[in-house]
Symmetry: C2
């Protein structure tokens, strides 16, 4: 039992990166518990997140490490980084002071999927991305 | 601008499944906003989730659709399914009445990653998985 407990709950961090060396990472507002976004981290970006205290991800499209907010200024100050039971997903609790979705919403999850498959807008924009992101 | 708005916020659901036909899906407690778990959905399990009102996922290890709680009884009653800006991740807000992690915790995110890379237990078990899951 002791051995089983160690396997399940052990203090050793053994992240199970996917074939691209990445883990999905959920950013959650530490104050409101709202889910802000989901991005990916490689080992380097996770290490930077832990050491610098600002959430840093790996962009699959640009194939590079990026600190959230490096362009927009809408950074994420890290309060806590958690890992799930399977060690294949991260949860990053962050403090923010500006909208986190590049489309202009506080959260990337601003649309609800209806039973008929259509999408319903369930949030309001909190900033103008046209003024925040350079073309 | 109207066209851009439509692309960004349009009512059409165009999920971007990964190469395995899956999307990560975050289960969030609709009452407390706690993140309970992250699993994957294929189109079939998403359709079942929307139509049946019980969160249904696709098991990558067992290669089959599974309804959360089919073995443990710890089901997830779906309140809302949201999709993110890129349409490559789902957020499922659920009502639950039992621990959701198969290890015995309320949430799968029961361990915090410390700066030195070790893990710290930050939750307490809410049920005995040995009694809930058959060997």
């Amino acid at each position: 039992m002791a051995e089983k407990k160690e396997i399940e709950e052990g203090a050793e961090f053994r992240p199970k990166f996917n074939e691209d060396g990445l883990l999905p990472a959920i950013a959650q507002d530490a104050e409101t518990n709202e889910i802000l976004m989901v991005a990916y981290m490689n080992l380097r970006s996770l290490e930077m997140t832990l050491s610098c205290g600002l959430a840093t991800y790996y962009s699959r499209s640009r194939k590079k490490v990026w600190q959230k907010g490096e362009q927009s200024g809408h950074t994420q100050k890290v309060e806590q980084v958690l890992v799930d039971c399977d060690q294949d997903c991260l949860l990053v609790k962050v403090k923010v002071d500006a909208g986190q979705c590049h489309v202009g919403y506080n959260s990337c999850f601003y649309r609800e999927i209806q039973k008929d498959g259509s999408l319903k807008l369930v949030a309001e924009k909190v900033y103008d991305p046209g003024k925040t992101y350079k073309k």
